[in-house]
Every structure is written in C-alpha cells, then in structure tokens.
C-alpha cells in the first residue's frame, strides 16, 4: 500500500473514533451533578416559571438523545452555541485562548524535546558514567515533581526573591519579547516531566540500537562516531520517541490546566476548569472535543512519521 493510500485510510478510520468521542464528551458532561440553571440562579429565589423557561433555554426539557442530536448538528456546523455564564459565543471564547495554549504547549514541547532527546543520547553513549547516573536522578525527580509545586517554587525564586521575571503575564502581545520572557517559567514547568520522560526513553532506545550489528558495521567502515549516532542510531531510536511524543500532546494539554492557573496564563485550561465549575456545558463539550481531536490528530501524525522514519514499516 502506498503511503498516500495509507494516510487516507488512516484518516477515515479516525471518523468513528471522533464520533465515539463526541458521545462520550456529551454524556460525561451530562453526568456532572447540577445544571446550568442551578449556576445561573445561585441562591436567588426563583419562581417555577423562571426555572422552566431557563431549562427550555438550555434544551434541558428535551430527551437526552434529542439533546445530543441537536448538539451534534450544531457542532458539525462548527457552531458551539452561546456560553451559559455570559451571552458570548463559545467559539469566540475558544478562539481567544487557543493561541495562548498553543504557544505555551508548543514552547513546553520544544523544551521537552530539545532537552530530553540530547540528554538521553548523551546518557546512552556515556552509559555507566556519572553523567548517566546524574541524568537518571534528574529525570526521576523531573517525573516525580508535581508541576503545580514546581511552578510555585519557580515563581517564588525567580519572580519574588530574584525578581527577574514578572509573576503575572505582562500586558503585551503574545509574541512580544516580554511575553516570551515571561513564558520561560511556565514552559519549563510544563515541559519538565515530558523532558524527563524523553530522556529516559531516548536513552533506552539508543542503548538498544547501539547493540545492533549495523552499528558495528557502520563503525567498521570507518564512519565517525558522530555520524554513526546522529545518522543511524538516532533515526532508528526516534520511532519509539515519536509514539510517546504523540501521547505527550495530551499530557501537555492536561498539564496546561494546572500551569495556566499558577501562572495566570489565559489559555484553554483556565477556560475549561471554570466552565466545569460553572456547569457551562457548551464550553466544556467544545474544549474536551477539541482536545480529543488534537490527540487523535497527533496520533495520526505519529503513524505517518513512522513510515517516514523507518521505510521498512509497511502497511
């Protein structure tokens, strides 16, 4: 099968997955105790008529299956409706925050890859040395540290005591120098666990590859060690890193929920948490669906990358 046909087939296969995700998204939100009406009314005294009219406004008076179909129909038209807590549209709220989350997640992902992969290679090449042991300890600490705590610690050290960075995002465009400077701490916080994971994973993959016979052949024909590692070993090791990298996309979006709160970063994570607490169902459904789509697409890309990295993989 050609790569192109594979990509098309693999893409079509994601459709039933997405449909399943939509059912889950819709259903899980409905399982939350409380409705938008409870949130809107809070402690106010309310007449039964007012309650009923509010329920009708959110289609809560329809049977569940009909609510789902109404919602799915809107979603397919990329219409996520209006928010419960304000009369702004869900799409506008998401569009406002998507760049923030992408920039933060992208920076964290970049840090994780740029730190994790080289560190893993070095640890594998120098395995058994102090450098290898040191990277193991640091990686374990990185995976074990709750990012919430790490974030607050970095804020206290670099924001309050050393006063090198602002504790809250500067009022400036997202790609302005001061915004990017501010982004360093949250991106490091968010990327640490992933970097640690990439380190361990790359080390073990590279270690495996180094034992392969082709490495001996490559060395025997006189290639420099650098060429052996970078051109041969690393490329073959990356297959497993790519798989995990796709899963890490989900982790980074997950982590953003916490990091955005600690660093007051106005991204999707903040929107999602608040929407859940306020029973702002349309927002919760839209964001969860978006994240699910991102993860599905990331996995699709990973599958395509395999084929490119390792031509021996056939389908």
């Amino acid at each position: 099968m050609s790569l192109r046909r594979y990509v098309v087939r693999r893409t079509l296969l994601t459709l039933p997955i997405l449909l399943g995700v939509s059912v889950l998204t819709f259903g899980l939100v409905k399982l939350l105790p409380g409705t938008p009406v409870d949130y809107v009314l809070q402690f106010q005294e309310a007449t039964p008529e007012l309650r009923a009219s509010l329920r009708a406004q959110y289609h809560l008076d329809e049977p569940l299956w009909k609510q789902y179909l109404l919602w799915l129909n809107d979603v397919l038209h990329l219409d996520f409706g209006d928010r419960v807590v304000s009369d702004r549209s869900v799409s506008a709220a998401i569009a406002e925050r998507l760049p923030e989350t992408l920039v933060l997640g992208g920076a964290a992902f970049l840090i994780a890859l740029l730190v994790g992969v080289p560190a893993g290679v070095v640890a594998a090449v120098r395995r058994g040395t102090l450098l290898d042991e040191g990277s193991r300890v640091v990686a374990l600490a990185g995976i074990a540290t709750p990012n919430f705590w790490l974030g607050l610690l970095l804020i206290l050290v670099f924001g309050v005591h050393l006063d090198l960075v602002s504790v809250i995002p500067p009022v400036a465009p997202i790609l302005a120098p001061e915004s990017l400077a501010f982004l360093v701490l949250p991106a490091v916080t968010l990327g640490t666990a992933s970097a640690a994971l990439f380190t361990r994973l790359t080390r073990s993959a590279v270690t495996d590859q180094l034992r392969q016979e082709y490495v001996r052949t490559a060395r025997a024909k006189g290639l420099t060690e650098r060429t052996v590692i970078v051109k041969h070993v690393l490329r073959n090791s990356l297959v497993s890193v790519v798989t995990v990298a796709a899963v890490q996309v989900a982790f980074l979006l997950d982590g953003a929920v916490v990091i955005e709160r600690v660093f007051s970063w106005p991204g999707l994570g903040r929107l999602l948490v608040r929407a859940i607490l306020q029973r702002d169902f349309p927002v919760v459904q839209a964001v969860v669906l978006l994240v699910a789509v991102a993860v599905v697409v990331a996995n699709l890309l990973a599958d395509v990358l395999y084929a490119w990295l390792d031509p021996r993989i056939t389908y």
Partner: protein, 538 residues
C-alpha cells in the same frame, strides 16, 4: 498604548536598553498615567446587572454603574443619582433625581431610565432584586417619579442601592450591555481580555462637584489582573507586580503583616459560617442535642487556628456590622444562654437529649462541606470535638461546590443524617440574615432554609419587621426573632467573617475596606462616603 505592568527595571534586565527605550515612551499618553493594579480572583462573566450572579462580575462593574442611592461604609444610605426619597404613604415613594448626569454613552439620565432599569429585571435571574417590592412606577417629569410597592417594604431604600441604573436604551434593545457596562459612575469600561485583565478608565465628566474629595478620581486607570491561584496572587503582591490584592486567604495574613512593604486591612463583614442540623433526623430532632453540639463548637480555637485570629465568634445570625439591629451585649447573652463553647454543659444536654430520643450513643454521622479550605478546617475541629465525647462518631465528607450545593439545597437534606457546614452572606438589612435561612416558606428547594426550620412566631415576626419602617420597632422585632431562632438551635453559628485587603504600602493611599461582597473597590472613589484612593509614584 496601555502602561506596561512589568517594571522598567525588570525589562532592562531582560531585553536590554535598546527595547526598553521604546517602552519608556508608552507610559505617557494623554492622561496623567496614574494606574492602580488590583486583582480579581475569577474572570468577569457578565456586565449586565440583571444577569450577573457572581460576586466577581458585580464588583467589576461597581465603579461603572451607580444606583439611586449608595450605602456608605457604616451602612447609611447616601443619595447619589437620587437627591431625595420621600415616602408619600406606606406603598408610594417619590424619588427626585439628580439633574445634569450623563451616561458613558453620552445619553442623559432621566426618570425614564430608572423605570426602564426596574422593569428590565422581570424574568431574569436577578428578578428578586427588584420584584420583591416593585409594583409600578409613574414618571411625573424628567427628574421625578413615584414608585409603587407591592407591599410596605422596610429595606426599600437599601434595596435601591443594589439596583445599578442602566440607560433606557438597554431595555429597548438599542444598547447591548453584553459588550461592556454603560453607567454613570466615576469610571468607564475600557477593555476586558478574558482571564487576563479587566480595565476601567476615569470617566470624563462625572457629576460630582463638592467639598471633601476631588471632583474627579485621582487614579486615571484601574487595571484588574485576573489571578485565580491565591499563592500566585500573594507572590505578585510581594514582587510588586500588583498594588492591591483583593480577599487574600486568612492564613496568609500573618505572613503579609510581617512584610513592611505591605499593609493589611481587615474589617468585620456581613456574613457568618454555620453548622446546619438535619432537623427531621433523630437525634438532631431533639433541641438539647443540637444545643449540646453547638456548645462543642470551639469558636475561639477555630478563629485562632483557622483564621489567624481574624473574625468574631457568632452566637446569633445578624452581623454586629448592623449596629442598629444588634449589639455585642445581645450576642454575648445569646452565647451564654445557648451557644458558647462549654463541654460540661454539652455533656449534660447530650445525655438528656440522647435519653429522650432513645438513640444510643455513639451515634455515627457525618459533617458534609465543600472544599473551601477554611471551612474544611473548622469542620475538622468540630469533628474532633464531637469525637472527643462518647456521643458521636463523626466523619467528614467534602464535595465540589456545585455538587455540594445541589445536595444541601435539594429539599431533603434535613432528612439526611449529615450536619452541613455552610457560609451565608448578608447585606446591610437585617432581613438578609434571617429570612432565607429561617423562614418556613424559604425551606429548600424554594430557597436556602436547609434545616427546614419552621416556627410560626419567627415567620410572623419576620413578616412584620419587613413591613415596619421604624428602626426602633424593627430592632425589637428582630431581637425577638433572633432570640427564638437561637434558642431553637436549628444551626450552630460559628463565626462572623471578615473582608481582607492587602496592598503595597508605598503605592496605595487612602484605601478602605468595604464590608460587603462586591463593594470592595468602591473606596477607590466614593464621594458619597468622603473616600478616595491615590497611588504613589506614577
């Protein structure tokens, strides 16, 4: 361009002198550049007073809208958009309005705006703000209108203070308040970047012109940074990234007080914490058992351990903030007779109560609470006290807020076996501390009487007090109602709350803490209370 909130010193360190030179040009502009950077603990969700049900939204538009009257820092009604309120008879009030006031959209303020504002509330989530008392309004001329009440309503003047006046165009649909609040206040809405910031700028021609405070607010721009995480808010205050932190957690206050750069301002507020008993369930159906538990609530220890010494033990519902309606002597008397921590007395009462109900100790039960840290910790102290006796085996259960509220207000929580830890916010009128919690018609799910406490005498007293305009008469009625409620012990009152603000000592001057929710920022410019705030430097 807006002033940057990061300091110039910090920018220099980061991006070098070249780009800092560009930044320096941004702090000028047409105004004097004075800016106060404050915080909001959640995002603003609504600009429309008929929709906004969260305190964040309400405090965010507090300086933009004005009501016919304002309530000053001591609870006195002060004229603002109205110049006088005259009661013609029990049901009719004649309101004279201030002339020469304009809304931020340029339209003139007249009686038509007032009538339209009131009637916009019908069928909205905040309907009860107006329709608890409003029947009709007759416009006599542009600056006079008669308001007819559905029945005599003692808190009428105070209630007017909670109804922000919007332009008539908002009622006819010609003005959309969902894009920004439009009022007559000293500050106009500038911008809102969701979850990032909310900014107000000084209004051009606010109507005030008198002695005591400047004609226009000294601070040109107020930027509210939206910081959800409390620890981050405190770090931002300590780092100087913000000038004023709204509502920092009580347990951080001791640390903040040790910091010379920061001033902590705290004030008794209008609200209390309580433990609600499930009145339909033995042994809590027995009055002595309830008083026994109430006397095991270690209020002083709670205030010391949980709230850093801030607050006051509560022995009755009405906050001492309302000096016209309660007194320290009355509270102490209620404490002595029914509530104060007294393990010996508790043991006698519990012995008698358990005997009477036939429940054999230890009784296994729970205290339920939401996840608010302070509330969980006082509930733990109460649990430990109860488990220290032979009568109870209590465990603590925590719920996420919406789940919790649904459980408490469901309508049958009084039949469960769980005691409920909850807070209640009242206002400037005594009715707000009693009716929703203790009136029989307010039993859940109608409103918030989760204990399903029902006492004809209390109902009658509350109804009579609500329609009595004379303050001394009302005070007597509320004293009787409180005495009855406290002696029946449907809830154990725990603590009267406080409002706390912390600000940079060198940056903020003249700020005062307003004791009620959503009025916190009125001290920035409140000519009706002779109060205004300035910021140091520039």
């Amino acid at each position: 361009m807006p002033p940057f909130t990061t300091s110039r010193r910090r920018l220099l360190r980061w991006v070098g002198a070249a780009s800092a030179a560009g930044v320096a040009g941004c702090s000028g502009g047409t105004g004097d550049g004075t800016e106060l950077v404050a915080t909001l603990g959640a995002d603003v969700s609504n600009y429309d007073p008929t929709l906004a049900n969260d305190t964040t939204s309400r405090k965010a538009f507090d300086l933009v809208y004005e009501s016919l009257v304002a309530v000053d820092f001591e609870g006195n009604v002060r004229p603002t958009l109205a110049t006088s309120l005259d009661r013609r008879d029990d049901l009719t009030w004649r309101l004279s309005l201030r002339e020469g006031v304009t809304f931020h959209d340029g339209s003139d303020f007249t009686a038509a705006d007032v009538k339209a504002t009131f009637e916009r509330y019908e069928g909205t989530p905040r309907e009860s703000d107006v329709y608890l008392w409003y029947d009709d309004a007759t416009i006599r001329d542009d600056y006079t209108l008669d308001v007819t009440l559905s029945e005599p309503y003692a808190p009428f003047q105070l209630s007017l203070g909670g109804v922000p006046i919007v332009p008539e165009a908002a009622a006819t649909g010609d003005l959309d308040l969902s894009t920004g609040p439009v009022g007559t206040g000293p500050y106009a809405f500038d911008t809102h970047e969701p979850d990032r910031l909310y900014r107000l700028v000084r209004a051009d021609d606010h109507w005030y012109g008198g002695d005591g405070v400047p004609d226009t607010p000294p601070i040109e721009t107020i930027t509210f940074r939206i910081i959800v995480e409390q620890s981050s808010q405190l770090a931002a205050l300590q780092a100087g990234d913000i000038d004023l932190a709204n509502n920092p957690p009580a347990d951080a206050v001791a640390d903040l007080r040790d910091d010379d750069a920061i001033t902590v301002s705290d004030r008794l507020a209008g609200g209390f914490e309580m433990l609600i008993f499930p009145l339909a369930t033995p042994p809590f159906s027995n009055r002595d058992v309830r008083e026994g538990v109430a006397r095991l609530v270690p209020r002083e220890a709670i205030i010391d351990a949980v709230y850093g010494g801030i607050g006051q033990p509560a022995y009755a519902p009405i906050s001492p903030l309302l000096s016209d309606y309660t007194s320290d002597a009355f509270l102490q008397e209620m404490g002595d007779e029914y509530m104060r921590y007294d393990p010996d007395r508790a043991r006698e009462l519990l012995t008698a109560g358990f005997d009477e109900t036939g429940v054999s100790p230890p009784y296994e039960t729970t205290i339920v609470t939401n996840e608010t840290g302070d509330r969980v910790r006082w509930a733990q102290l109460v649990r430990d006290e109860l488990n220290g006796t032979d009568f109870f085996d209590v465990s603590l259960e925590q719920f996420e807020w919406n789940t919790y509220i649904e459980r408490v207000l469901s309508g049958d929580s009084h039949r469960s076996d769980a005691m409920m830890a909850l807070g209640w916010s009242g206002g400037w009128d005594p009715d707000t501390y009693l009716r929703n919690m203790f009136y029989s018609g307010q039993a859940t799910p109608s409103c918030c009487n989760a204990a399903h406490y029902a006492n004809d005498e209390v109902d009658r007293l509350l109804d009579e007090a609500l329609t009595t305009y004379d303050t001394a008469e009302r005070r007597a009625l509320y004293e009787r109602a409180q005495r009855q409620v406290v002696s029946d012990v449907p809830v154990a009152f725990v603590r009267f709350g406080t409002r706390i603000e912390a600000y940079r000592t060198d940056a903020v001057e003249g700020f005062r803490t307003y004791p009620l929710d959503s009025g916190e920022f009125s001290a920035i410019y409140a000519p009706w209370a002779n109060t205004y705030t300035t910021v140091g430097g520039s």
